[in-house]
Symmetry: none
DNA sequence: CTGCCATTTTACCGGC
DNA sequence: GCCGGTAAAATGGCAG
């Protein structure tokens, strides 16, 4: 019997994989995808900041603008909620 | 005489503008740009969430993954901090 | 008929309590405790400000002092982070 | 003449002082005083957090409590402003 | 008075 | 479904 054939098989499987039973490359890929998306989010946040700066220098009250946006978001959420319930009831009626 | 000259003048000024001295259209535009960017951010957050779900069903520990990402982010921040300090010291030496 | 029997009963229930189902005195106590602590915080902030003023008039560069303090705080945070991770890894090994 | 008498004098002055013209010990003292006060602030913040936790488990709405405290703070600020103006006017009248 | 930094507040996400 | 903790947003304060 050769020395550690089982070990070789494992090593084969290990090629870029499975350190301590963990699929390293898979993990790396997932982590990097997340990091990339977070980068994009950060860029968008920066863009938003720029718009508020622009608004400010155009004489708008940024705090109040934020409030408006917040209210519109809440209204939108309410609308969605209402639509969701409407759908739910429609389906219930079909029964 | 043309029809409603005074009205026209006011309307001219009001054309998409100035309700109570506020540039309404400009404001609307700014608000909508922000809202649009926030939508995009939300979509990205959703994508990130999906990746974590994928990771979880591949058997990874999501909490530890988050920890890894956080650490990498901190390391990056440390690097930035070091560069910042370097600049600061350079400036200090000029004194 | 006795004088205001109903009123007395309500007053009994209200004795430092329950306006609209809210334990008023308890709430007041909590709020005042928070306010008191915030006062103390404010006083400390003021003390810190004084020290920086003192430092400035002794010829120190306040901006750089703040930077030093910030760095020392970050180092402390890093240490804590490392300990936290150590614990995390210890727990992970138990799996 | 001994070698570097001037240097010795400087060294005397340097005892725990003046590295690169900076009063090191003085700086250290200032920094540590600030750090100590910041510690105290942090402890107070923690106490406040605890009170809100207590309030929450007593069934109070923490967000609304914060709003109340904020309003009372604003009122207090207004009062202070009024008192300040009152004093100012009193003094003005005395002229 | 503007911009920046610290603190505070809000919103999210995973775990129980 | 709530709770706890963590990350993002927003507000407030300070220096220049």
């Amino acid at each position: 019997m050769e020395k550690e054939p089982k070990m070789d098989i494992i090593k084969e499987a290990d090629e870029k994989n499975d350190i301590g039973g963990i699929a390293v490359e898979r993990l790396r890929s997932l982590v990097e995808r997340v990091e990339h998306l977070e980068e994009e989010k950060k860029a968008l946040s920066s863009d938003i900041k720029d718009i508020f700066a622009e608004a400010k220098s155009a004489g708008f009250d940024v705090k109040i603008m934020r409030e408006i946006i917040r209210l519109r978001r809440m209204n939108a959420a309410d609308r969605d909620e209402r639509e969701y319930l409407l759908d739910l009831y429609k389906k219930a009626i079909d029964l």
